[in-house]
Symmetry: C2
């Protein structure tokens, strides 16, 4: 039996391409004592992976060339010589871009999950890292009061969609920023945001700020930032005194394009707090976040969509499509 794997073959210069990845097959190893074999059902595609492809200084070490790409996965234990894991267990962890994981459970950061009321794939989305990311930024940094206005960019994405719905649950006004009328309709009609600004319909920072003013008549108290660049400039111009900006992603600059902040003095004049965070560094937040998110998915009050590609070979193209924002929702690759 073979294990299919995708490795990083080269680093992108500018935008990444499918040629940066290489598919290979290796024999599927038997588990040694203390190891498990997990058959992956789903691979998660996330923006942070773009950062790992480059070797620029960042919070995480770059993905080594020639090794299996890092990635969250969900699957089923198919062999186990590790205490606490049995064949048939549903698990979620960091199995990488491959059809199977073989190794110690701690290396895969596996945790068992209950799929009775929450689908397995949701543990890679609203009840997984993207959901906890949304929860942490909203709850621990923005901390909106009822009636305050929260803006989130990439609002139709895996993180942004949860941010707005959590803000609504706390009695705040939720305003999304997304690209194109289809995404904006989804954000408002299906996710229940109060408004959504289509940034592609507004040519420059001034037009975007004007659209935000209309969508946020009482100003902006909290911003969950996934994009940066012109979008952040426009949001900053509309922030209320004592506003909070949770800086989660700066995807506008991921390909090396400069994304200067035009008017940082607004942080002073509006007495803002801007805070960058990486959710994996806040393990204490995961249990309360997962409790709320799991319950909300189980009872159907937290909505989400998935954009699923089939087969490991489709992962590179699906990853690039995710970065481009071709589809809305959580991007996954189905592996079994």
């Amino acid at each position: 039996m073979m294990n299919q794997q995708l490795v990083l073959a080269s680093r992108p210069t500018g935008a990444p391409s499918v040629d940066n990845f290489a598919l290979r097959e290796v024999p599927l190893a038997e588990p040694a004592e203390g190891q498990v074999v997990v058959r992956h059902h789903f691979l998660s595609l996330d923006p942070y992976m773009r950062g790992r492809m480059s070797d620029a200084k960042s919070y995480a070490a770059p993905q080594p060339l020639g090794e299996v790409m890092i990635g969250g996965t969900a699957g089923e234990v198919v062999a186990s010589r590790a205490a606490g894991f049995a064949v048939g267990d549903r698990v979620v962890g960091m199995g990488g871009w491959q059809t199977h994981f073989v190794g110690e459970p701690a290396r895969g950061m596996w945790r068992k999950v209950d799929t009775t009321r929450v689908p397995l794939s949701a543990y890679l989305g609203p009840v997984g890292m993207p959901g906890v990311t949304a929860w942490y930024g909203l709850e621990r940094i923005i901390a909106p009061k009822a009636g305050q206005t929260v803006v989130v960019s990439s609002a139709a994405g895996a993180v942004g969609s949860v941010v707005g719905q959590l803000a609504k649950r706390r009695g705040a006004r939720a305003v999304g920023i997304a690209g194109g009328p289809a995404k904006c309709a989804y954000v408002v009609d299906e996710l229940g945001f109060d408004a959504c600004v289509d940034y592609k319909a507004h040519a420059d920072v001034r037009a975007l700020a004007t659209a935000l003013k209309a969508a946020c008549p009482a100003g902006i108290d909290g911003d969950f930032e996934n994009v940066g660049g012109v979008i952040l400039d426009a949001v900053l111009a509309r922030m209320n005194p004592f506003g909070r900006i949770a800086m989660c992603g700066m995807i506008a600059g991921y390909d090396g394009v400069p994304i200067p902040l035009a008017a940082p003095q607004l942080i002073l004049t509006s007495r803002l707090r801007v805070e960058g965070f990486i959710v994996s560094e806040h393990p204490e937040a995961w249990p309360p976040a997962l409790a709320e998110l799991g319950a909300a998915v189980a009872d159907g009050t937290l909505r989400y969509r998935e954009a699923i590609a089939d087969g490991l070979a489709a992962a590179p193209a699906a990853f690039l499509a995710m970065l481009r924002g071709d589809q809305l929702g959580k991007h996954l690759v189905r592996l079994a």
Copy 2:
């Protein structure tokens, strides 16, 4: 008897000039019931006044044209029909750019001060608004641990000089940024900072960042930002993970020059917290701050210098000199 006053005659376009101010004399009014007359000994000159001269949106209403310029003052009660204030009391408050204040004590925000061990003028500097500003940003935002490195720009100024000394008192490494060898020598030799970078000796952000790297071999954990622009860009590039930036002033942009932040994505990748603040909005911080600062000035462990101009007519030129950074220390005008 006359009251000499300086009013804002016009708003600057670009850099301010002495022509933006006009001197006038009005008869000194008798105090009405509930009022005091304070004879000003010192007028404080502070960077925030530059912001009030413009009518751009900011945290404070612009200074109205034709009215006495806002400003902190220290003086002596020379007539009183207000409870709690007696002739001879030494007081500090917001008396404005004039030789005398006449009005209700609350309007001048007067508080009585003890000049037994702390000179009256110090209540406008290290034991006044500039000192509390330094204390708040360092203590409540940067909160350095012993051994961490704190950088402060305008290090030879009224606020920056206190920031570094307070950082040293907390066991941190204090590194200043100042313009010219004289200021840097003062910061290190007299104030006791560990190092000082002369930004005028480094032509661009890369050279400045290199100089900061040498002065901060373990990186920067806290930045007290008074300047912005290229200086902030250079500091940001050297910030350690989980660093804090207390944004107190952005004087590089006060004349309308754009001061974009080149790489705001560093806030995310270094998981920084950037917080703007105005010390007058944090009244709860003043008592503990003034207690520490007053004791440290009284026992001589907190050092400061004053740049004193004589007579109200000299105030506009002295104010412009303060903005240019011609002299180090706290800028005052002696009025009596």
